[in-house]
Symmetry: C2
Subunit: 386 residues, 2 copies
């Protein structure tokens, strides 16, 4: 059976990028590698919308890059604010705890997004807060955070703003400089269309000051060592050159399509998916849904995991289930990176056929039709150039 | 020009393994992945010669795995012994410093190997030492350490033994259980023939006790989280599944050839290389040379970097230069993993032609002939099965 990987990470890797991975290995202390590294960093800066913030590449997953942000900006006993509304944003709290930092949790219901005013209030009441940890898109709920508003608030204080954008960069708008984002965390395996194992962080000058002050032990993820290497177009340790070469191919695709077009495509596809899902009588969990992952509540009486398994076993469409308190309650469909119009149609078709397989009464084709109407109404969507 | 990657890491990746990297991405929380993970861990245990020590896989380079050993076994103020005799073994000291551990340096001349008796003496004088950090093969000098002897010494104490085997496992004998090795560090990009980005550690029960006691902050590399995931044939964070699938291909090659045959091949090839080098009147730096990397002192009057560049530019043979205090003084030739008889001949031929190009007086063919005699004298060497 043909397989359709539509989980919210890892995401499909285009054949051309996979073939780049099969090229002979090159050494990472060579001019050939330096040129690739420079091109990757330059491309990432364009996508991050930053003129001169540092970009560091790490052989790690997104979690390693998240740890790097905590270890490089906080010392034991320092105070932080952590916005928590899902499995991944809760990780910021776990990381603060691991490093002995004190954090003020701003807990929101899973599926909701934080009111930026609450962060402003906490910052006013706690002028000693060093870092605010946020999540652009919470992968476990599909909820999007208003990072622009939070950025404006934090920029006016002595605190720095750290954003987990692993499931957001390359999907929706991120204006690192204009919004005043100090540390942006991202990974390769989602909108950047490379296999898992590569993470990158974008660090502002304001954050660099904290890096010099932070006393937490660190070595592999030390931004000071990363900076010294980055200035020579290298990584501090052996570069995962094959993954970085693949990333260059993906970045060329993104820049070839145009960053704004890539963002418009993600908005269109996830918008069509949500419309189709709702036409079938299902509910999208998030109040402010993100465009990279859609969390869906199945109809009354249809267990989410049965729905997920039917989509996979009968139709080859691989979507994710819920995690922790949402385990067994939702399915999550990823629409990131190498995803196009007919992938959304395939997912909706598998969804509606699976629902009928499981005894739910719905007109076949209803979800697909609703999505098609959305997709056809938008003329602005440009095709891949590459 | 054809390129021959003969640096001591990264090392060549066989075409079949590179093609495995180009397969469609799979999700890491699936039975399909669990089976691959289990097979990889099982294969690594066979190569490590351990019955039941834990094996954890990390998306990182070897340096990340080294940091994991420090962060998981020491608390600030704890005492350790660090054997230092090159750039990479010095890293153990830097890591101890980063985590606030106190270490007794056992410094040896670069190119020499430590006398295990010195470790015994220090352990006797310092019964509060928690961890002994060693290096099986020092990549910057090509010197091999007698880990068996050190293992026997440390096993009789309360301390644990940590071995950086990144440039040693899959090259020369490692008997994790029989020698009493508590933490063995390895990476994928050398004898394991996968691109850079994958590291693994093997942890004994004695080490696990220290893991529970250690108070250093850690999260991404936390062995407790790794253990919980490993028991389910998973990694704690998103698995770098494509690299792990490639590693499975490489492990199948190693087990197909037979671990003892792989070790014999490395010994034969590096032995032939050393004989050829000495026949040309050059000197091998290490007193106890390792079989994965050979550090060579060029003849008087021939700058090492000119030799290295000539080998690369004229003949496509990519070898490494010296690092830090050996910068400009040596060349280093890697013979790890996907390396066979005629690769050594190619390297020696490029070496002798480059020497003549640079004005050194030597009979062409002398080094190659000496190596051929070694290679032909050994009948025991079996061919790749795969």
């Amino acid at each position: 059976m043909k397989k359709y990987l539509m989980t919210p990470g890892p995401c499909p890797v285009p054949p051309e990028v996979r073939l780049a991975l099969s090229r002979p290995v090159i050494h990472h202390r060579t001019e050939e590698y330096h040129a690739i590294h420079a091109a990757v960093v330059d491309g990432l800066r364009k996508i991050l919308k930053t003129e001169k913030n540092d970009v560091f590449l790490f052989a790690s997953t997104g979690t390693g890059a998240m740890e790097s942000a905590v270890a490089n900006t906080l010392s034991a006993g320092d105070k932080a604010i952590v916005v928590r509304g899902g499995k991944f944003s809760e990780r910021w709290g776990e990381l603060c705890r691991a490093y002995g930092a004190i954090f003020i949790p701003l807990d929101i219901e899973w599926g909701k997004s934080v009111d930026p005013g609450l962060i402003e209030k906490q910052l006013t009441e706690n002028p000693d807060v060093r870092v605010v940890f946020t999540t652009l898109c919470e992968t476990s709920t599909g909820a999007k955070t208003d990072i622009e508003a939070i950025g404006t608030i934090v920029a006016g204080t002595g605190a720095i703003l750290v954003v987990d954008a692993v499931t957001g960069l390359g999907v929706s708008e991120v204006e690192t400089d204009a919004w005043g984002l100090d540390v942006v965390i991202c990974g390769g395996q989602k909108a950047f269309m490379v296999p898992t194992g590569l993470a990158f962080v974008c660090v502002s000058e304001k954050a660099r000051e904290r890096v010099d002050l932070a006393k937490s032990p660190r070595y592999y993820f030390d931004y000071r060592r990363a900076k010294k290497a980055a200035d020579k177009n290298e990584t501090a340790w052996s570069a995962p050159a094959s993954l970085i070469i693949a990333l260059k191919e993906s970045i060329d695709r993104i820049l070839g399509e145009g960053v704004e077009n890539v963002i418009a495509r993600h908005a269109l596809l996830s918008g069509a998916l949500r419309t189709g899902v709702e036409a079938l009588g299902l509910k999208v969990l998030a109040d402010s849904p993100a465009d990279g992952v859609t969390a869906i509540l199945p109809p009354e009486g249809i267990p989410a995991d049965d729905l997920r398994k039917t989509m996979l076993d009968k139709y080859g469409v691989h979507v994710a289930g819920g995690q922790e308190r949402l385990r067994g309650k939702i399915i999550r469909i990823g629409t990131m990176g190498y995803c196009d119009t007919l992938d959304v149609i395939a997912a909706l078709s598998a969804l509606e056929m699976s629902l009928v397989n499981l005894g739910y009464t719905v007109d076949l084709g209803l979800g697909v039709r609703a999505a098609e109407e959305v997709l056809m109404a938008t003329k602005k969507h440009k095709r891949h150039k590459k």
